[in-house]
């Protein structure tokens, strides 16, 4: 186990409180005294270099044509997230899109005829008075500010503070997490929070979900989607085998991702009620593994794992990985598939007049009887 020396600004009695998941306490953070202590709980496990991620997004957005071409996955998932709004018969005066990327959610909201069951339905944007799109990369956020969809809903772009490089270690550890949490929004200020394909880069996911819960009004929903589980397992395994054979060891190239089982627990821990978690696999075929890697780069989804090897992959490894990718996972027509596993989640902020599940053991009908009668 890694032990860290950390500054702790909370009463000593809490130091022995071991939470099952580490969770950062949100503001007000008053530093009364500084203790040097071994911490097993209360600290955030750092996995990603948020500064690197920010630079990758900025770089990807600096070439709008290429970046738009690689938006197919984010547009598709944004559309699927927004479709879930059809199930909630409500009007949302103020909504937040957290980790907006290039405002893919706003684009999906303004799409015509979102409801497949009706011959014609108004765009979902008509159910939202104003949408705040929050994203830390200004270039990506403002990439499509001139496109026509901006006129179809009241969209406010909010640039979240960018992670700063920490000078102490030359930026290797990726700056501070303070850019991620807390969110710069007031408590109980949103009627809806949406998030599409951003949460998988958050170091402190429990803390972030807690913050989302904080900014929501009581009885308001959070609808999110993130990459998880076996996403890109084909690429992960081929690169591992290629490095193993060519260089005799492996280094991380694909992020560790949250699993479906974890997400329910995390949402519950953050205080959400009436949880819904489900999984969808999107498989995209590419001509070769290099096309996949180029597109990932253009999406701004390159590797940003802490402790990754600096510099690109060597040609030998690339050559070997492509051959292994084809041999292990390739399609018959010569293309290679890449799986993106999307974890969808819905949670509601607690409120007094909200339907609640019945207490355990209060059921009066045995499910077995019903199922066996069939």
């Amino acid at each position: 186990m890694r032990l860290t020396l950390a500054r702790v600004g909370r009463p000593p009695s809490l130091l022995h409180h071991h939470a099952p998941f580490p969770r950062r306490r949100s503001p007000p953070r008053q530093q009364v005294r500084c203790y040097a202590s071994f911490q097993t709980g209360g600290t955030t496990f750092r996995v990603f270099n948020s500064r690197t991620k920010w630079l990758q997004k900025e770089r990807a957005a600096s070439d709008p044509a290429l970046s738009r071409e690689a938006d197919y996955l984010k547009d598709e998932v944004a559309m699927r997230v927004c479709e879930r709004l059809l199930d909630i018969k409500r009007h949302f005066p103020r909504a937040l899109d957290l980790g907006a990327n290039s405002c893919n959610i706003a684009r999906a909201l303004t799409r015509d005829n979102p409801d497949p069951e009706l011959p014609s339905s108004p765009p979902l944007a008509s159910r939202i008075t104003s949408l705040v799109a929050a994203e830390s990369s200004p270039a990506l956020l403002h990439r499509d500010a001139d496109l026509p969809f901006n006129a179809q809903l009241r969209l406010e772009r909010h640039v979240l503070p960018a992670p700063s490089p920490s000078p102490a270690d030359g930026g290797v550890s990726g700056g501070s997490d303070d850019a991620e949490v807390p969110l710069p929004f007031e408590t109980d200020s949103f009627d809806l929070v949406l998030s599409s394909l951003s949460l998988h880069w958050i170091n402190d996911l429990p803390g972030m979900l807690g913050e989302i819960n904080r900014v929501l009004k009581p009885d308001a929903p959070f609808i999110g989607a993130m990459l998880g589980g076996d996403t890109l397992f084909e690429l992960r395994t081929s690169l591992q085998l290629a490095e193993q054979e060519r260089r005799g060891g492996i280094s991380p190239h694909v992020s560790p991702l949250a699993d479906v089982r974890d997400v329910g627990g995390l949402l519950g821990r953050a205080g959400f009620q009436m949880l819904t978690v489900d999984v969808e696999d999107i498989v995209v075929d590419y001509p070769d593994s290099f096309a996949l890697m180029q597109d990932l780069q253009a999406m701004g989804e390159g590797n940003a794992v802490l402790g990754r090897e600096m510099g690109g992959l060597g040609r030998d490894v690339l050559l070997a990985a492509d051959a292994i990718y084809r041999a292990m996972h390739g399609n018959e027509d010569g293309s290679v598939p890449a799986t993106f596993r999307i974890i969808h989640m819905i949670g509601w902020k607690e409120s007094e007049n909200q339907p609640k599940p019945l207490p355990r053991g209060s059921g009066e009908v045995n499910l077995k009887d019903i199922l066996e009668k069939k």
Binding site: L241, Q244, E245, R246, R247, G248, D288, F290, A291, M293, Q294, R315, D316, L318, L319, A320, D322, A323, I324, R326, A327, M328, G334
Partner: protein, 60 residues
């Protein structure tokens, strides 16, 4: 005017001409992928690399 291809695109182009040695190398790895060690398939890889180098040279 056609934009200049990126190095990775030139690389992919050259690799695509070597599907036969690539398949051979892939088969060698996949045959026993739980016990991959350094230079397990070095013979097949060198064939693949020679093919790639020839293809890359020819494209210039």
């Amino acid at each position: 005017m056609q934009p200049k291809p990126r190095p990775i695109q030139r690389f992919a182009q050259a690799v695509s001409k070597c599907s036969v040695p690539a398949a051979e190398y892939g088969r060698c790895i996949v045959a026993d992928y739980n016990f991959v060690h350094r230079d397990k398939c070095v013979k097949e890889f060198m064939k693949l690399k020679d093919c790639y180098l020839a293809a890359a040279k020819g494209a210039k």
